[in-house]
Symmetry: C2
Subunit: 404 residues, 2 copies
């Protein structure tokens, strides 16, 4: 019976992944200027031609990863689109005048002019992921070198001197350990070192540091994951210090779990499951309407983010990966129950039966609040990564080929 259930999950997830890939292949390619449209309406209409760099990088990465690891996606149109996106990024994303040593833009015009630069590291992170994964499928050494160049700059900003980000140093702006930063770096370490012994050596200590930095977010005797802590790992005052983002904690959970499996650290696997999966799931699940809240205050104050109670697609994607990955390794029935609970909510609320792809933003009650398929922060990434990873995990659980 368990096998039957897993088979059903896999069948649905596999079909959904095909549908999602088709949606983006059909609607998002800019055949004139290269790169991808990312502001795409319910029915596939492009409603804005701005090109958000996070989403360009993520789409290149995702296309390459599907092309490289899944037989049915090893198709020329997917590789060509990834190469076009990578070329667009390589040509236009880097803004030499930003920060003290250049930075990636956050947003470009359709023809590649920089519109906005953020003073954070995230555009660079997705640029690195794109360059590295593209180098893996094309064998382009220069792209891999570019990925490493930006990675080393980024590590310098995070660990040595943040002044290159271009932020004004202000006396009240005390340095914070924001969980997104070590999480992203850990993800990049895994990206860059996969199958490369030399780089694994180079980035080993960085990986350990990232894990330690992520673990600092376990607070209040292990009963909460807080998004922002001090550089010393202590709780911070105010809204910033009390902020919880359950979906983000769950994403950190599977990043840590995956790392722990690779290095063979049983204790870290346990911590990932108990602290970064169970805790945010219990805190973050809306008992009344179902689904995961976006933000919560650990002391029960109302968060100041207007969208705090909305149900977003990506926390649910991360929860699905986390619980299925943990179940795949431990076979603890409780974890499959959690996966099933999130799966039932997700598949009954987010996918659009009419036009394909998923809605991204629901009200607390679960109705569609914003009906576009792509926007400034939603592109070809969380949905296909989730479906891809869940399909692979189910393949593994069912003992089938991972390369169908």
């Amino acid at each position: 019976m368990n096998t039957e259930k897993l088979e059903q999950f896999r069948e649905k997830i596999r079909a959904e992944l095909d549908r999602v890939v088709d949606f983006w292949l059909k609607h998002s390619h800019d055949n004139q200027y290269g790169g991808f449209f990312t502001c795409i309406g319910k029915d596939g209409t492009v409603y804005d031609d701005l090109k958000y760099v996070w989403l360009q990088g993520r789409q290149v990465w995702m296309y390459c990863h599907l092309y490289r690891t899944v037989k049915r996606f090893h198709r020329k149109e997917i590789l060509d689109a990834a190469i076009s996106g990578g070329k667009f990024l390589r040509q236009f994303a880097w803004v030499p005048s930003a920060g003290s040593s250049g930075k990636c833009a956050f947003c470009l015009s359709r023809d590649g002019k920089a519109v906005k630069v953020q003073r954070t590291i995230f555009s660079e992170c997705f640029y690195i992921m794109a360059m590295d994964e593209l180098a893996r499928v094309t064998g382009d050494q220069e792209m891999q070198a570019e990925a490493e160049r930006v990675m080393d700059l980024l590590v310098h900003w995070v660990r040595v001197d943040p002044s290159g980000l271009g932020r004004l140093q202000l006396p009240g702006d005390t340095p914070v350990n924001n969980m997104a930063v070590p999480m992203m770096l850990l993800c990049l370490v895994q990206q860059l070192t996969e199958g490369r012994a030399e780089l694994a050596g180079k980035y080993r200590e960085l990986g350990q540091w990232c894990v330690q930095q992520v673990l600092q977010h376990v607070q209040r005797d292990g009963t909460a994951i807080l998004e922002n802590v001090s550089k010393e790992g202590k709780e911070l005052p105010g809204c910033q210090g009390r902020l919880q983002n359950p979906g983000h904690a769950l994403e950190a959970g599977w990043f840590l779990f995956q790392y722990a499996v690779r290095v063979g650290d049983q204790e870290l696997q346990r911590t990932a499951m108990d602290k970064f999966m169970e805790v945010p799931f219990h805190k973050g699940w809306d008992q009344q309407h179902g689904g995961l809240f976006y933000f919560l205050d650990v002391d029960g104050h109302c968060p100041t983010q207007l969208e705090w109670s909305m149900k977003l697609w990506w926390p649910h994607c991360e929860a699905l990966i986390a619980f299925l990955m943990a179940y795949r390794h431990t076979r603890e029935p409780r974890l499959l129950e959690r996966f099933t609970q999130v799966y039932d909510y997700t598949f009954s609320h987010f996918p659009d039966a009419d036009h394909g792809e998923w809605f991204g933003y629901l009200t607390q009650q679960g109705s569609v609040a914003l009906d576009f398929k792509g926007g400034p922060f939603k592109g070809f990434f969380h949905v296909p990564r989730c479906l891809y990873m869940c399909e692979r995990l189910l393949d593994s659980l069912l003992g089938d080929s991972c390369d169908s």
Copy 2:
């Protein structure tokens, strides 16, 4: 019967203003460091001690304005609080290292350390309002000079050279006429020139320029007010160009109307009513659930702002002022009907019967989504300004003293 209705409005509004003033007098004063707490929960609890400069400046202005113009608020505790807030601002808000010639902080720590600086003009705007109004009640010439100094800097940034704001010049970041900018400057011109013939002369041309810049936002043959247009007054592509903010247009409406009354421009009064009140009211009112939408796309695409369909307190405040002011001057019954419609929605949804003050953020359906009374963008400003102005307008309509 009309008089009876107006009397009822006035009674309710007057009582509500007293209640709102009491709430902030009781909960927002920082007697240790000076200035005001602005993150205040449903029951008055301070949930964060950060001090947002917009809200510090607005509270100083509002206290002074009530003290100066309303007999029952001509109280020492109100003046003392305004002076304390002004002193805090004067001492801590200015960050000499920001931009190319100094800037106001956006946010300060409780003890006045700069936490964040924005690369826009708005912190400076509310700083000027505070300094000028405080100078009017205290007679402090140095404060008035400070208001003028920052005003002239701000006009330079807007009309001559924006580089002092500290923004990176990017090739894709084409200059935009964002309606907030000429609106705020028009508001400041009215603030600085009231009763001062010499300054009225100095800023006359600026006032005319602001009006012309605001009027550029009337687009699509007069059927829409768009938040962002090109510097030449043309519609811009993409989401930015299609954005409508009905509450903001209504606020611009009463700014223009007030200006038009002062300069005796009948045609501008008509434009303010027909284009900046009727148009956004018709476009912005939610026919299904009542209340004004926060953002809309003029072509009916889904806005990318997650809060687009929420009902916020301040657009309703601005609508009440706009329609009552226009009714006061024209006595057109239609305008009183509009006022009544907004009034009914507002008073049945926003005020908190238990603890006083208003909730700020409702779902599209009208239930409370965020229950705090003060937050990073909600302080002692829109609610009391609306109640104060409506009380005065009703006094005038009812032929009573304006100074009770």
